[in-house]
């Protein structure tokens, strides 16, 4: 299972977790990082649809019991710190910055359906 963090659509800083039952495999063996995985859509009823390759997955949106925080580690000298503390010390400082708080996740645990033709478009 691989957790993929993706920014939530629409809202600026809302993030979500996409939880998949299965692996996302790259055929070419490349790192998945920065790769285009698939399309995430919402139906009118609000159920998320994830299309990966020729698979289509339907899932559901679940709010997390414990929200996660997305931290960003920063190394370096913060200008404020530098000013306050010793400049030497500040170089080695790591900081974590909260980028977002994740309150929802999208679970796709149903067996994916293969996409054969252009039906996709009509959906």
């Amino acid at each position: 299972m691989i957790l993929v963090k993706l920014p939530e659509e629409g809202k600026e800083t809302q993030w979500g977790i996409v939880e998949l039952q299965g692996d996302i495999v790259s055929q070419s063996g490349n790192d998945l990082h920065g790769q285009f995985i698939g399309d995430l859509h919402y139906t009118k009823q609000g159920t998320p649809i994830f299309i990966i390759g020729h698979h289509i997955l339907t899932g559901k949106e679940v709010s997390l019991e414990k929200p996660f925080a997305v931290l960003e580690r920063k190394r370096g000298i913060l200008p404020q710190c530098c000013e306050e503390d010793n400049p030497e010390k500040s170089e080695f400082r790591t900081e974590y910055q909260i980028r977002a708080i994740i309150k929802k996740k999208l679970i796709f645990k149903v067996r994916p359906k293969p996409i054969i033709s252009n039906v996709l478009n009509s959906v």
Partner: protein
């Protein structure tokens, strides 16, 4: 004198005395005349005394006498009678005078009556009346004088207000000599004017006089207002007449008894009284068995019936069932009814309602064996009240049903000891079948309905009383269903010895001189028919003869029309009876018969010896007694070929066949012209056949069913032909009728429609074959033939002609010389269907085009095509274009629309969808090339691992 009925004179006196009594009573009622009262009572009483002994009319009179007359205290009766007389007769008029007048007339009326009878007995009349010592003529005179005085007084009193005439009349009769005069009064002229005068007063007086005139000839109904009728219930004259009649009868009966006694003495008969009784009731009734032990029928049957009846005890007599059932069961164990392996066994098992398994018993046997007697006797013995329904009763289904219900569900409440009913249906074989259906429904159907309810013992629906049916022949078709439902008891003929001994007892009782041999002969002659034996004995008795063997042989009383079975009649015809013990009897019969119908003698009889004559006679008797010549002749006709024929030249056959044809002719004539005068001649054919074909061996006779089979076959054939003709095309139908079809056309037609076809597909046929094929199709259509697929019992499929004319054309075993293969037949049938449709279509469209020629010009083209296509026979291919136009249009319309849609879709989407799809395809290709989703089934197997911030740092 007192005890015996009085002679007319005395009787009349009694009447007179009553009048007197009445008179006295009336006077008594009046307060102003006390004088008369005292002398009157003695006479009254005396008269009453000897009235009391005599007939009822006279007692009526007594009841009207006053209570104070002393002897009989009938006070209750007297007041109303007096009242009535006063009210009715006298009304509102002054009492005394009128009353007296009434009495006067009364008396005069009586006296006149009397005078008619016996000329002048008036003075003695009173003397006769008074037997006692104190009473005397003088006293009587005195009384009358007093009455006269009284009347005169009254007359004086009422003279002021009333007319003198009635009183004068009254006074006159009351003279002593009046009685004599009264006869002259009626005739005398002076009286008559008075009558007319009195009429002014009212009807009463007038009527009274008239009654005097008519008294002798008219009954009491003439008028209600007469004094006499008011006092007595019926008029005096009628009473007198009746009394006379009774007297006469008595005398006659006495004389008759004396005469009878004399006669019986003369004939030395045992008892005179018995003959008297014997004349009244039949011996059959008289010597009916009175107890179970006296029953003549076979013990086995009796017992079984009784047993069956006892099985009902549980339902019918609820209380006693335990003991009874026990008794019955013990009985059963002894007899082992259940163990018997026969078809119908009477079992003890009761159904859920506690009834025996068989709700009915069917007693069957020849007449006169005592079936009815047995049923009655046993039912009575078992404690039932027998309700009998026989042929003389109304047996329509409705009446039958009500009777059934009444008998089985009601119970007599009134009788001394109310008993449950037991229904005995006598002679049920004569009842209409519908009624029997009703019975069966009643017995079985209803109790099924009740069974659902599961109400035990309750409910009026179920049959809770035994039903005994009695019939002579259980194999009557109407009884078929009944036979299955009922317990059938066959009544074996009574043992001759038993019957003969009983007959001997009876004849001993009756004082008939006879011997056992004669009785046995009688039994044999009557075929153990008890009833006919008894009636024959009775007949002999009435002739006061001793009964000897010869008498029995000579008499033909004991013979009755016993319906014999068809087979026994045929057997009689085909078998020469060996002369056994009963031959003498047969000969005697023959002699007796030949006297009766000597004119009927056949030539053979004249020529032949007595044996042949007897044989012929016998056959004739049997055949005539059966009467169904038609059926009998059929039987003979079908069975004679199986007989052993003696002449090799077959002359006998020829002769016999001549007779068959003559019988046939006779029968036809009888049936067609209703000329039944020919009927007697039919029986003689049987005699001839008997002579020709009969043998000593036991003939094996089959029931004649050829005619039945033939008629069935004929019906079937007719049906087929009818079907065929119905669907034939008019142009063909015009030229043939049924016989032509059967005799000429169909046999050939069967060959015509079977040409030589190669078993290949239609397309491969040569042009000649196609032509043949086409002609077959059109022929078959013309004759409304087709092939129909049928499944044989073996499971294979066969194509048969639809109106299966093969059945008509080929007889029995014969087979058609060649047939088409299954495939060809199917091909043909399909083609026929097609062709029919095509023709129909053609007719239809042409009709349409005729109707609206201008409106549909396009339609014209397909019909034109159709005939052309028909002719060459390339039908298969052309079927579609011609056949389908309507169809196709529709079919096309749909696809076209779809196509349009798709086209539209295509057309539109080509721009819109095609591009994305292609784009997508591209992207998909890219995606496929790289990333895909690998789904893992099962649960989420994430391993959680605590991570500390420090680790991250």
């Amino acid at each position: 004198m007192d005890e015996d009925f009085p002679n007319p004179e005395e009787e009349f006196e009694m009447m007179y005395a009553d009048e007197l009594a009445m008179l006295q009573e009336m006077e008594e009622g009046l307060p102003n005349e006390p004088v008369v009262r005292k002398p009157a009572p003695p006479t009254v009483r005396r008269s009453l005394d000897f009235c009391g002994s005599s007939s009822t009319q006279i007692t009526d009179v007594i009841s009207s006498t006053p209570a104070n007359s002393g002897v009989e205290k009938l006070s209750a009766a007297s007041p109303p009678s007096r009242k009535r007389t006063i009210d009715d007769i006298f009304g509102d008029i002054d009492d005394i005078e009128l009353e007296e007048a009434a009495e006067g007339h009364h008396l005069s009326g009586k006296s006149s009556k009397r005078s008619c009878k016996q000329t002048v007995v008036d003075p003695t009349f009173f003397l006769d009346e008074d037997p006692g010592p104190e009473s005397s003529h003088g006293k009587e005179m005195e009384l009358i004088d007093r009455i006269n005085d009284l009347r005169k007084k009254a007359f004086m009193e009422c003279q002021q207000g009333h007319i003198s005439s009635p009183t004068s009349i009254n006074s006159k009769p009351f003279d002593h000599s009046r009685l004599k005069a009264s006869s002259s009064i009626t005739k005398g002229v002076p009286k008559w004017p008075f009558v007319s005068v009195t009429s002014e007063l009212g009807d009463r007086v007038y009527v009274r006089l008239r009654t005097e005139e008519y008294m002798d000839e008219q009954c009491d109904k003439v008028s209600h207002k007469r004094g006499q009728s008011g006092l007595l219930r019926s008029s005096f004259s009628s009473l007198k007449d009746e009394a006379l009649k009774i007297l006469e009868e008595k005398q006659e009966s006495i004389i008759a008894a004396q005469v009878a006694e004399l006669e019986t003495l003369e004939t030395s008969e045992s008892a005179s009284s018995k003959t008297h009784d014997g004349n009244n009731n039949l011996w059959v009734v008289k010597y009916k068995p009175t107890s179970y032990a006296e029953l003549l029928s076979e013990e086995n049957v009796n017992r079984t019936l009784l047993h069956w009846l006892k099985l009902w005890d549980k339902v019918v007599f609820n209380k006693e069932r335990k003991t009874h059932v026990k008794a019955v069961k013990e009985d059963k164990k002894n007899q082992r009814f259940q163990k018997k392996p026969f078809g119908q066994v009477l079992t003890d098992e009761l159904d859920e309602h506690g009834r025996p398994q068989f709700k009915m018993v069917l007693l069957c046997g020849p007449p006169g064996l005592g079936k009815t007697t047995l049923a009655h006797m046993v039912a009575k013995l078992a404690g039932y009240n027998v309700v009998e329904v026989n042929a003389s009763d109304d047996r329509t289904p409705e009446a039958f049903h009500t009777q059934l219900q009444a008998a089985t569900q009601m119970k007599s409440v009134m009788g001394k000891e109310p008993r449950p009913n037991c229904l005995v249906l006598d002679e049920i074989d004569g009842a209409p079948a519908v009624s029997i259906e009703t019975l069966i429904k009643f017995v079985s159907g209803k109790n099924v309905g009740k069974g659902k309810g599961k109400k035990k013992d309750a409910g009026p629906g179920i049959l809770k009383r035994p039903v005994i049916c009695i019939c002579n022949d259980p194999y009557v078709p109407a009884l078929r269903s009944l036979r299955q439902q009922a317990f059938v008891l066959h009544f074996p003929p009574t043992a001759s010895e038993r019957l003969a001994s009983r007959l001997m007892t009876i004849s001993r009782k009756q004082g008939i001189k006879t011997d056992l041999g004669a009785m046995l002969a009688l039994c044999e002659k009557s075929q153990n028919d008890i009833r006919s034996c008894l009636s024959l004995l009775h007949y002999f008795k009435s002739q006061n003869r001793s009964v000897r063997l010869s008498d029995i042989h000579q008499s033909n009383v004991g013979q009755k029309d016993i319906q014999r079975g068809l087979f026994s009649v045929w057997q009689e015809v085909f078998q020469i009876q060996r002369s056994k013990g009963g031959f003498t009897q047969a000969a005697a019969n023959a002699v007796a018969r030949s006297k009766a119908n000597s004119s009927n003698q056949t030539p053979e009889m004249k020529s032949g010896d007595s044996a042949i004559a007897a044989r012929i006679q016998r056959v004739l008797n049997t055949v005539q007694s059966h009467g169904d010549y038609n059926r009998l002749a059929q039987g003979v006709f079908e069975n004679y070929p199986n007989m052993r024929l003696r002449d090799s030249s077959l002359n006998g056959i020829v002769k016999g066949l001549d007779w068959f044809s003559s019988v046939d002719l006779l029968n036809t004539e009888i049936l067609s012209s209703q000329n039944y005068i020919l009927m007697p001649y039919m029986s003689y054919a049987f005699a001839v056949w008997h002579i020709l074909y009969a043998g000593l061996a036991w003939p094996k006779i089959n029931y004649p069913n050829a005619s039945y089979e033939a008629s069935v076959k004929e019906g079937h054939t007719k049906q087929i032909i009818g079907e065929l003709v119905k669907g034939m095309s008019p142009s063909v139908r015009v030229n043939c009728n049924e016989t032509q079809l059967i005799m000429e056309i169909l046999p050939l037609l069967l060959d015509v429609i079977v040409p030589n076809f190669r078993p290949v597909s239609l397309q491969l046929y040569s042009s000649q074959e196609k032509k043949d094929f086409c002609s077959v199709v059109s022929t078959m259509i013309d004759y409304n033939l087709t092939y129909v697929q049928e499944r044989t019992p073996e499971g294979t499929y066969v194509c048969n002609l639809d109106p299966n004319i093969e059945e008509i054309v080929y007889f029995g075993e014969s087979k058609p010389p060649r047939t088409l293969s299954y495939g060809t037949k199917q091909l043909l049938s399909r083609e026929i269907e097609m062709e029919k449709m095509r023709r129909f279509e053609m007719a239809f469209t042409s009709a349409q085009s005729v109707q609206t020629p201008s409106s549909i010009p396009q339609d014209k083209s397909p019909p034109k095509n159709a005939p052309r296509e028909e002719a060459p026979g390339k039908s298969k291919e052309k079927v579609s274009p011609t056949n389908v136009p309507n169809h196709l249009r529709k079919l096309k319309a749909k696809p076209v629309l779809k196509e349009l849609q798709t086209k539209d879709f295509f057309g539109r989407i080509v721009d819109i969808t095609l591009s994305p799809s292609t784009v997508k395809a591209n992207s998909e290709a890219e995606l496929k090339g790289d990333i895909w989703f690998h789904f893992k089934e099962g649960y989420n197997n994430a391993v959680r691992k605590t991570i500390k911030i420090s680790e991250l740092l």
